[in-house]
């Protein structure tokens, strides 16, 4: 370990030996022990930046972000399909109930003759359109 290399290590990695390159750590620590004054001056300078860097904390991810990430994972895709299956069954059930109700209504009208009480299908007022059959005569206006 040379003084230049020790200087490079502290300048790049800071004052904490645990952050020094593994292959240089033991030699650098030994050099610092035998050159206390020189080493301490360099280490003190680096320690100020280390303390400053250590002050920066990033808040951990929130539960919402965690869940969003999990929801995109491959194994999670079964959940929406299950919901889709239930909603499809619900639609089919409603359709079936509508069919039963319709069949009941038709049989009710047929059996009771209620349909005869409705207006005639070809009553003239139902056939009048804006293109024909109008009795209005606009020639005088």
């Amino acid at each position: 370990m040379t003084p230049e290399r020790f200087h490079q290590i502290v300048e790049a990695y800071g004052a904490e030996p645990r952050r020094w390159p593994q292959q240089d750590r033991a030699a650098a620590q030994a050099w610092a022990e035998t050159h206390r004054e020189q080493a301490d001056a360099l280490l003190a300078q680096a320690a100020g930046v280390d303390a400053w860097l250590a002050a920066d904390k990033v808040a951990p991810p929130g539960a919402a972000l965690f869940e969003l990430v999990l929801d995109a994972a491959p194994g999670r895709r079964t959940a929406p399909r299950r919901r889709l299956w239930w909603s499809g069954a619900a639609i089919a059930g409603v359709g079936l109930m509508g069919g039963v109700a319709g069949a009941f209504a038709v049989s009710f009208f047929v059996l009771t003759g209620a349909a005869q009480q409705l207006p005639p299908v070809h009553e003239s007022s139902y056939l009048t359109s804006s293109f024909g059959g109008s009795s209005a005569d606009w020639s005088d206006e």
Binding site: Q8, E11, A12, Y13, G14, R19, P21, Q22, Q45, A46, G48, V49, W52, L53, A55, D56, K57, V58, A59, P60, P61, L65, F66, L68, V69, L70, A72, A73, P74, G75, R76
Partner: protein, 186 residues
């Protein structure tokens, strides 16, 4: 490579659709990725977007991951950094947004908020570093990657990494001393 990738076993379980493994991987990587992106971008919301995007890519690759030259963690960091750089490039139209040059402590509402002001000064100082210096410092100091792994991730030699780290620290020290002007831009 003699050591096994520490994420390999987890990835094998994810390949077998093990939900516990999925949760473990998210617990292990999400805080690291969020911290990385937050420090690279200086913006929490953007960092969360980046973290989510990285996981979308992880889910596509996890079941096909094969141990090779690069560790999974290194690959994940590379993906995250690429996404961060995409966003930083998008900010070039307004460089002041990316690199705040000066910090005005008088702009803070109360002197009692000194601790918060200190946090903001650190964050601003990091944001003011040239991107490659910031990347080197974030990978080595905050992500606690070895010099060899960080250099490999950045595609540079260990000597070049040490040079970037030393310049980053000199810039920070200058800002700490209050000058904030003697910045090395390379």
């Amino acid at each position: 490579m003699s050591e096994r990738d520490p994420d390999a076993e987890l990835l094998e379980r994810i390949g077998r659709q093990d939900p516990a493994a999925v949760r473990s991987l998210v617990s292990r990587k999400l805080p690291r990725l969020l911290a990385l992106a937050t420090r690279m971008l200086g913006d929490r919301m953007e960092a969360e977007d980046v973290a989510q995007e990285v996981f979308v890519r992880i889910w596509k690759q996890a079941s096909r991951w094969r141990e090779g030259e690069a560790k999974f963690d290194t690959w994940v960091h590379r993906v995250a950094l690429n996404l961060c750089y995409d966003r930083l490039r998008g900010r070039r139209e307004d460089p002041h947004d990316e690199m705040p040059e000066e910090i005005d402590p008088t702009a803070l509402p109360e002197a009692g908020l000194e601790a918060r002001a200190q946090d903001q000064r650190v964050r601003d100082a990091l944001a003011a570093l040239p991107p490659r210096q910031r990347e080197a410092l974030v990978l080595n100091y905050y992500q606690e990657m070895s010099n060899i792994d960080a250099a490999a991730l950045m595609g540079i030699t260990v000597d070049a990494l040490e040079s970037l780290l030393a310049r980053a620290r000199r810039n920070l020290r200058a800002q700490l001393a209050g000058s904030g002007l003697s910045k090395d831009k390379s």
